[in-house]
Amino acid sequence: MYRYNAFDREFVRERVAQYRDQVARRLAGTLTEDEFKPLRLMNGVYLQLHAYMLRVAIPYGTLSSEQLRGLAAIAERWDRGYGHFTTRQNIQFNWPKLVDTPDILDALADIDMHAIQTSGNTIRNVTTDQFAGAALDEIADPRPYAEWIRQWSTDHPEFQFLPRKFKIAISAGAEDRAAIRAHDIGLRMVEVDTAPAFDIYVGGGLGRTPVVGELLFQNVPVAALLPHLEGILSVYNLMGRRDNKYKARIKILLQSMGLNKFKQAVERILKQINNTFDGNELLALDLIRAQFASPSLPSRCLDAYYEAIDSDASFRQWVEQNVTPHRQAGYASVTVSLKAHGQAPGDASAEQMRRVADIAASYAFDEVRVSHQQNLVLPHVSQADLPEIHQQLLAVGLATPNVGLVSDLIACPGMDYCALATARSIPIGQTIAKRYAAQEVELGPVSIKISGCINACGHHHIGDIGILGLDRAGVENYQVTLGGRPGLDAALGEKMGPGFSEPELMLALDRLFITYLRLREASSEPFADAVKRLGVGPFRDALYEVARAA
């Protein structure tokens, strides 16, 4: 993984020193809140409902053991002993005091981390496949390119005050595991004459105007990637709306210009800026690539693994659900579920973080990933070590065998924490997880995504079942969408009808699942496939059955 050099360290320390001074001036009264707010936001510090929140960048979701231990230490010393892993592969601390935030940023700098560009109208954390570098189906590890883009976009002088925030995702697998078409820019790695290249999707995004990104450029060679990104960002920066923040994302500009005109505008910019890329950026990429060399993966005796598979049903179930095949035989990727039934999705205690860090150090080449589904991943693990890893995860409540099932749901912080939320998400997720825990293997793979407001941080538009919490005349109300999906054939879920109160929602979901079990062709037909085959009609009927009967 990428290791900071002297320049990186100095840059981050300077930013912390600047921020420390800004906090001191705010507390001394020489900066007003209006002056201070954009400065704290540039360092990831928000004010939420009950407290400040610090969002820490985890570039493309990759952490070392040392970094995860450092995050655990921050959670214990300055927060309430836990952190929340987010759908942008970052971590948020929900209870820091403003006066402590400079010290927290210094503690982050100690472990080569920061909170820069985790807020504000800038290019945010580049996200990618949590199995990058380990996946069977990828053409190359996308993380060196994600790091390259991170370095290009960090403190980019042109792109610190964009019309709105800007999100980039990159995927290199046959299956898109990074939801690239739900991003302002989605990059899909392809091969052209055995050389890596990129298909560039633009204008995707969720929020109040959900749009699936469209293919703008195909087969862009590596050398032309940064110029193309700069061209797209430049057009957006020049022409994106700044008069209305709800109309300021690139998707709105793309809709108003049309794909062809937008593309022509980018091509005009490309002609102007091509000379500014002199090849040094490719040398930088080579240096970055060298830091992402695959670990040496020696062959190991797997007798103990097969013995455990035969003798331990709970281990077998965990392997079936939470372990993913690796590109190298004898190895696997482990998804550490942060969705124990009834827990807040994505939350991990300091003890849990430390245990995962210890396991990564002992068995997983010192590497941990954060998935956009709010779980942790150990990307390279010998199958020989899986029984021991399972035991260690069990001891701290991290071995729930539910990846991809009902309880592996995504939920934004919602009104339990977020100042923008219109309803709670976490308790809805907790209740769903507990309610269907005993049936979730029978129900099979299904993605439930819950957002506590129209900003859609819980990605509800692209869930098999999407749930959107709203305020209806002072009462929490939950709208259901069906048929959404991420991936290369991404689709937005269809709104089913009027929303439900919290108790009604649970009964409606009961009817929905019963209908699915009745109508599926075989137990092997997942919920999403059944909805695709039958259309949403019978499922909508099921949701509103009682209401209609009344």
Partner: protein
Amino acid sequence: MPRVKAPVVVSANCLRSGAVVYLDAANNWVIDLQAATCFDCVEVATVAMQRAEDEAVVIGAYLVPVSTRLGEVSPTHYREAIRLAGPGGYITYPSRSPALVSL
């Protein structure tokens, strides 16, 4: 934004800690809602809020509609109830459908 209706209290977040605070009769910011001043007139509350809002102490002051039934002050909107109580403490749901229980 719907017009706020009395009775109301004045709330804000503490600058240093971010904690939820309320304005009391002595113009101090306190964390106990029951110690907050309850205003029967929105205009009077607004003046009190403007006088008390010191950027060196709190940020984002605003009026919170409350109920004062049985002598207890409680927010009328669930957002403010959550803001007061903190995360957690959730509701009870109806029991599962028999068809799912029997799976």
